[in-house]
């Protein structure tokens, strides 16, 4: 009996103990569960993203093209994406690069448009300005988003953000999370390959690498005659354009805690569409470009409300080109440009409603390693007089911008930037505007700003050239832009926007006379560009989710010396539709309607006729266990023969014939 009671006592004590232990354990368990919940919530800091403005709230006229849109469009390169943006047109140049027309202004080198990659300016060619030298045909399959801000951007970004800023955002480690590959093949023996890899590591390090390779024989546009053939002299004409191209790109984004190293290297080799001289070149005309930038940046969190972004960077651009100037006369020219500098930007969030940013930037730009040779063929070059100079330019800038929401439905933006150059002096550019949601879903926006384009080294220093002479006393080009618009969401899924713009461009850097040679460069003349951009997009919901229809239409006029500018249409329309058949397959259609474009005064040729072309695409996403995407696109479905304007000074007969029906297919595989 005693033995039985003792056993009962021991068991009882054990049970009581285990019960007490269980209670304690449960309490600790509860705390752990609570802490696990808080840890999960800690993963998302929502307020950090509030620096980025929503498209609807920004005072600038902004179009965002997402990765999804790019896939549906079936874009082969950056300009295939940009041509769908209201107010933007793409046309061919004689040398091969294509030019970006923005709001009625189009120039050979697109130097009035700033292209940026992940916020870093790409106008690395200091000799001739512009970013299209290697970025016009940038492969798009590594792009996450393209943000196009039409209007002046110098108040924030400084030089050359004159008519538009195009910011290309590429996929980062988080977006990739593994290995992505793709391959594409199409007309003109075009082939594109891509491999991207990204990973986020446990120690807060992350890495993303992109590699692209592109090769094409070009559009082989017929060239019926050139300045020699029309005189009955020996010539390559009639013939075809020699716009062959091979390029590879390598991009890297490496991060550890608040540090980041990123950059992109591009090597591009291409022929020419026609030539720089008024004769059709053969395949011996070669353009070789190397471009890269390397950036080290760090964000310093001083307080929750106060952060500082710092960066140092080094940009490089080199050209090494052979041009056929006559059947037995070739020139070999080259140069290397570098830009090295840094920037510090302070971001202060006064409250949820007000953010002030201010910054200072410094850069040193240098041009050297000049090459100038000529000879009867590319194997027998002799040194020739340099047609440009080695130069060094130093510049600094300070800027401030305040974004303030005094009311929940009103945003005010005021900013200004002062830049100082050692060669042409200083320039001050303000920007201000508001975005007011007058009624729910109806917003009114207004903005005014100025911008400048710094003279390129080639414009300052062109020498020993019988045709063109530079001008070291050039001032920057200036533009003042006023714009007003309405954004409306009248029904769910529909976004409509109307924008009126008015830009006055002064001190245009252009060829002037009198001049001892054929032409000299100076600040002369002005252009007035104004127009209305209308755009609307309706995204279907419910069972048609993923489908949308969109349209944009621009009516514009650009006046110089009382006449409409050449090579720019008075109106252009884009119609788009994407139809999602099911969760996998969708079809995309695009119609581009472009108006006639006039000639320059004195050019007696008829206007370049307007045209309409239709593109069609079929896309299959997330096939084979969501690992594979396939796409097939037909460009210029009805094989419409259409032309981009050729300038008069090349004695080109007719205009540049653009490609007829063309195809491109691609396959993407995720691992």
């Amino acid at each position: 009996m005693i033995k039985y009671l003792a056993t009962l006592l021991v068991v009882g004590v054990l049970l009581l103990n285990s019960s007490a232990y269980a209670n304690e354990s449960a309490e600790h368990d509860s705390l752990e569960k609570e802490l696990a919940y808080l840890a999960a919530e800690r993963k998302v800091v929502v307020t950090a993203s509030k620096m980025a403005e929503h498209v609807d709230k920004t005072v600038a006229t902004t179009t965002v093209i997402t990765q999804d849109d790019i896939t549906h469009i079936g874009a082969r390169n950056l300009l295939d994406v940009l041509r769908l943006v209201p107010g933007i047109g793409i046309t061919q140049t004689n040398i091969g690069i294509r030019k970006i027309e923005v709001r009625g202004v189009s120039t050979q080198l697109s130097e009035k448009v700033q292209i940026m990659l992940n916020g870093h300016p790409l106008d690395h060619n200091l000799q001739n300005a512009g970013s299209t030298w290697v970025y016009d045909d940038l492969p798009v399959d590594t792009i996450k988003r393209v943000e196009v801000v039409r209007g002046p951007g110098s108040a924030l970004y400084g030089a050359n953000s004159f008519l538009a800023v195009i910011n290309i955002i590429t996929q980062n480690a988080k977006d990739l999370n593994g290995l992505h590959t793709s391959a594409g093949w199409g007309s003109f023996d075009t082939q594109q390959y891509r491999a991207s890899w990204g990973k986020q590591f446990d120690n807060s390090a992350e890495a993303a690498l992109h590699f692209n390779f592109t090769d094409t024989n070009g559009i082989k546009s017929p060239i019926p005659a050139d300045s020699l053939s029309i005189q009955g002299l020996s010539s390559n004409a009639p013939g075809r354009s020699q716009l062959t191209e091979g390029r590879y790109d390598l991009e890297w984004q490496l991060g550890y805690k608040d540090f980041k190293v990123d950059g992109r290297f591009i090597d591009k080799k291409t022929g020419a569409f026609f030539n720089a001289a008024p004769i059709l070149s053969d395949s011996r005309t070669k353009q070789n470009y190397t471009d890269y930038f390397l950036r080290l940046s760090r964000t310093w969190k001083i307080q929750d409300k106060f952060t500082v972004d710092t960066q140092i960077f080094h940009d490089f651009f080199s050209a090494d080109n052979i041009w056929q100037n006559a059947p037995s006369l070739f020139s070999h020219s080259g140069f290397q440009d570098t830009r090295t500098g840094g920037e510090i930007q302070a971001n202060y969030h006064f409250s949820n409603d007000q953010t002030l940013i201010s910054g200072f930037s410094y850069a040193k730009e240098q041009q050297g390693n000049l090459i100038e040779e000529s000879g009867p063929d590319p194997q027998h070059f002799m040194p020739a007089a340099l047609t440009t100079q080695e130069r060094t330019r130093k510049r600094w800038g300070v800027y401030v911008e305040d974004v303030w929401d005094p009311l929940t439905n009103l945003r005010l933006t005021v900013g200004a930037r002062y830049d100082r150059y050692n060669d042409f002096g200083g320039t001050f550019n303000p920007r201000m505007g508001f975005n007011w949601e007058v009624f729910k879903n109806y917003s009114l926006k207004f903005s005014y700003g100025t911008a400048y384009r710094a003279p390129a080294f080639g414009e300052l220093a062109a020498a020993n050239n019988d045709i063109l002479r530079g001008n070291p006393t050039l001032n920057p080009e200036e533009v003042k832009t006023f714009e007003a618009g309405i954004i409306a969401h009248p029904i769910k899924g529909l976004t409509a926007q109307t924008t009126y713009f008015h830009s006055a461009i002064n001190q245009i850097i252009s060829r002037v006379s009198p001049c001892p040679v054929q032409s000299c460069i100076g600040n002369s003349g002005s252009v007035l560009a104004e127009g209305v951009e209308l755009e609307a997009r309706y995204d279907f919901d419910e069972s048609l989710q993923g489908s949308y229809i969109g349209a944009n239409h621009v009516v514009q006029r650009s006046i110089q010396l009382g006449q409409q500018l050449a090579d720019v249409p008075r109106h252009r329309t884009n119609l788009t539709a994407n139809w999602a058949f099911d969760k996998t397959w969708s079809s995309f259609a695009h119609v581009l309607l472009k108006g006639d474009t006039l000639r320059i005064p004195g050019d007696t040729r008829n206007s370049v006729p307007g045209y309409g072309i239709v593109d069609l695409g079929l896309l299959g996403k997330n096939l084979f266990d969501k690992k594979v995407d396939v796409g097939f696109n037909i460009y210029n479905l009805f094989d419409k023969r259409y032309y981009d304007p050729a300038p008069a000074n090349l004695s080109f007969v007719g205009d540049y014939q653009m490609p007829g029906i063309a195809f491109f297919g691609h396959v993407s595989v995720k691992f």
């Binding site: 609570e34 802490l35 999960a40 800690r42 998302v44 307020t47 929750d304 993923g546 969501k626 995720k670």
Partner: protein, 311 residues
């Protein structure tokens, strides 16, 4: 065709289309930030129970099950076309907000929901009880308390702390708050804060409450300086908090389901965010006695659970 036959055919056609393609989907998609987190999962379970009882179809998507959650979720939304997406936790809400901005969204278990982008009329059940409710209880229990102090992180809790300060002012309570960026700052912040206050308030800030060590630091410092602790959850009672008012987790799930059905029926104005409906008041009599705190005896009626020293 006779008119009667035509009418029959019309009715049949209407019934067919109403039953198939043209029928409005009332399916609810539940997006869970992390299914291994007890609070999220409890809320999800209770939410589903109520939907099932009311014959509402639902599907689940757990973010931690998907390496490429953005793309997978987008595809699922396209495929299932849910009438409403219920987001459990901030991570789920932030993702869905980007992926499906045009869909009706309902959230819960998101800390300090006012920091979220709720433009366009998202619905929600707040994670925290209203600051006015918490302060009223505090004032009811401890009428003599004049100054309370709290630690918080600006990124996570700024809006909630502002609301606390505003409501405290109305009740004649002075709030001294200190923002920290890292748990390493807790010790110094407490040393500065505690001498100035009558009571320390633990709010659900994920930076302040980063780990057990930060919890230990808070209670060690408050005990050393003989300062009572008021907490948002009864899990801190065991650590030594004298009073806690906790939002009931299961109720948040059920309340969200009720709200979801009302949203589906168009009975709720856009932008409605409800405070948690259920709460539990827990009093630590042991800590209260140890600190020899004066409190309102009548307030004991509102206590759901009293914890003594023996427990």
């Amino acid at each position: 065709m006779k008119i009667i036959n035509f009418c029959k055919l019309l009715i049949l056609l209407v019934a067919f289309f109403a039953g198939t393609g043209f029928a409005q989907s009332n399916k609810v998609l539940i997006v869970n930030s992390e299914k291994t987190v007890y609070r999220y999962e409890t809320i999800a379970t209770e939410f589903k129970k109520v939907l099932q009882q009311n014959a509402y179809p639902s599907i689940e998507f757990n973010l931690d099950d998907h390496a490429n959650a953005d793309a997978d979720l987008k595809l699922l939304i396209q495929q299932e076309n849910p009438a409403l997406i219920y987001c459990i936790g901030t991570q789920a809400y932030s993702l869905v907000r980007n992926v499906a901005p045009n869909k009706k969204l309902l959230f819960s278990a998101a800390i300090n929901w006012r920091r979220l982008d709720v433009g366009g009329g998202a619905y929600g059940v707040a994670n925290e009880l209203s600051s006015a409710q918490e302060l009223s209880l505090l004032r009811y229990f401890f009428p003599t308390i004049k100054t309370i102090g709290l630690l918080y992180n600006d990124s996570f809790s700024r809006e909630y702390v502002e609301s606390i300060k505003k409501d405290a002012l109305a009740l004649g309570i002075n709030v001294i708050n200190r923002s920290i960026n890292d748990t390493q700052e807790i010790s110094e912040a407490l040393n500065e804060l505690l001498p100035k206050i009558d009571m320390f308030w633990i709010i659900s800030d994920p930076v302040v409450l980063s780990n057990k060590e930060s919890v230990r630091q808070i209670f060690q410092a408050t005990q050393q300086q003989q300062k009572p602790v008021y907490a948002y959850s009864d899990v801190y009672i065991e650590q030594g908090a004298v009073l806690a008012i906790s939002a009931d987790i299961a109720t948040i799930g059920r309340q969200s389901a009720g709200l979801a059905m009302m949203v589906d029926q168009g009975k709720v104005p856009a932008g409605t965010v409800q405070s948690p409906a259920g709460s539990t008041v827990t009093l630590n009599k042991c800590a209260l006695d140890a600190l020899k705190l004066q409190f309102n005896q009548d307030a004991l009626d509102s206590v759901n659970k009293i914890v003594g020293c023996e427990q």
